[in-house]
């Protein structure tokens, strides 16, 4: 099913490095990262904290700039945030003074989408994420799962075709997390989005993605790029799922052994 999608190279990252200073010491957050992502792919970036996965995501989003190397979307250098790349934050970052409906309408309003079109879009995505009953509620009245649904609808209503997700389900309870994973996959399959998803859960990465990019820390770099060929919907308790979990786990922890030695 990804066959026909995986043709257009949407995102291209070449020799990307990022350094910053922390208490006078130079930290290399990313070293020589190369990654290309096709339209419609679901990519997970996985790694221990400090491996630079969030930094990489923030560079793609345009919140931070690389020290050297390039990141391009559709061949165009990324220099600032743009509505084509929608970010879903772990702590939601909803506007607390806006209702669910107004939060979802924020992007289209800012970009001057005509009123009728805007309304259709917003109402549509309220339904897509199943928040019809809460359309007029304020964020503080919602559960974590509902807030994250609003955050997802907010970037979708803004016509983002690349959705960047920074451990979006990390703060949710296990049941809500599983439901949102399934809903996200459902939306992804229906819309042809490209998703770049940061997580530190191996299971979440295998369950969701076409490719799992394993990163290792100090300096942050890509350890391996693993295509997941398991048929969907995936069964987390199946033997081949467990096999993958073991293999990726070993890759993820490989740097520990090296460092201890």
């Amino acid at each position: 099913m990804t066959g026909d999608r995986a043709t257009f190279r949407l995102l291209e990252i070449e020799h990307l490095s990022k350094e910053f200073e922390l208490n006078g010491a130079r930290i290399q957050a990313l070293r020589d990262v190369n990654l290309s992502i096709n339209q419609g792919e679901f990519i997970c970036l996985i790694g221990a904290s400090g491996c630079g996965k969030s930094t990489l995501l923030r560079i793609i989003a345009g919140f931070e700039t690389a020290t050297s190397g390039t990141a391009r979307v559709r061949g165009k250098l990324i220099s600032e945030p743009g509505p084509d790349r929608g970010m879903v934050f772990q702590d939601y970052a909803l506007f607390p003074w806006l209702s669910v409906r107004e939060n979802i309408a924020f992007g289209p309003t800012e970009r001057g989408v005509p009123k009728a079109e805007r309304r259709d879009k917003v109402e549509n995505f309220i339904d897509v994420v199943g928040l019809r009953k809460f359309a007029d509620a304020y964020p503080h009245q919602l559960s974590g799962g509902m807030k994250q649904r609003v955050a997802i609808a907010r970037v979708l209503a803004n016509d983002a075709d690349i959705v960047l997700m920074d451990e979006p389900f990390g703060a949710l309870d296990a049941l809500t997390r599983e439901r949102l994973q399934e809903e996200l996959l459902d939306i992804w399959q229906r819309t042809g989005l490209t998703v770049i998803f940061v997580t530190h859960s191996i299971e979440e990465a295998i369950f969701l993605s076409d490719r799992v990019v394993v990163m290792t820390p100090s300096p942050g770099k890509i350890e391996s790029d693993n295509r997941i060929l398991l048929p969907r919907p995936r069964d987390v308790s199946a033997p081949d799922f467990n096999e993958l979990r073991r293999t990726l786990g070993a890759k993820l922890h490989s740097h520990h052994g090296r460092r201890a030695a």
């Binding site: 989003a61 345009g62 919140f63 600032e80 945030p81 743009g82 509505p83 790349r85 929608g86 970010m87 934050f89 702590d91 970052a93 909803l94 506007f95 607390p96 003074w97 806006l98 209702s99 924020f106 992007g107 800012e110 970009r111 304020y138 964020p139 503080h140 907010r154 970037v155 803004n158």
Partner: protein, 296 residues
Amino acid sequence: MKQSVASIAAPATVESRPAATTTPKAHRAEPAEGPRLEGRARPVLLALVVPVLFVLFWEAAVVYGRTRLIPPPTEVAVMMWDFAFGGIWDDAFSRTLHVHLLMSMSRVYGGFLLACAAGIPLGLLIGRVRLIRQLFDPVLQILRPIPVTAWLPLSMIIFGLGGTSAFSLVFLGAFYPVLLNTVFGVRNVDPKLFEAAAMLGCKGSNVFRRVVLPAALPSIFTGLRLGLGFAWVVIVVGEMTGVPQGLGAVIMDARTLSRTDLVICGMIVIGVAGFLSDKAITWLNRRLLRWSPQHG
């Protein structure tokens, strides 16, 4: 006295309520009426306990203490009536309450609104624009500890004796709380919200309108409340010298004339006026900040 207030107020509300919600749901509304009314009347009654006890203590202290310097509450009440409606003493102060009150209010609200007009935009800029912060912040930090009352001599030189000087003091008094709380509110906006706004296509001056202002609004309102409260404090000092009309002038003149009952009347009027204007701003606060869990 407490007895009579309570027994007059309670039946009046009982009668007016069902009348307002008449016919269709009348039979359903009625049973719910009892506990809800009690729930509403309770805080009012409780709030009256301490003042009533205080007034009783005051009366007793004056009567048994045999002081002639402090009038008993009954005399103050008579004075208040005369101050408001006249017909008892018929002197220079009779029936002048509204004149002084309006004059003080115009200075308080005028100075306060001017302080808002200057403090909120400046606060937004200081909070958000580095260059402006670096330009203004040190100066403001040095000026801030100077008590507003210390400006009185200087403002009398600059603006002359009279209302303008009082007005300028009110402005200064309200300005700092409004400004500092606005700056605080802007500085404390969750940086993620700026990223979220940028990612959704919100740029330039729209960021102020769509993110900075609403996000800082709870803090700005704290500043407004403090500022308006402070304006009422400062107005008395401002009106104490060279101002013919205003509640501060009344208190000062009454003191010179040894009319302590009138001094107390002036104090009570200021207290009530300050209380009511705080109520008004809290009401506005609740309406505008329905979204905020702390203010809702």
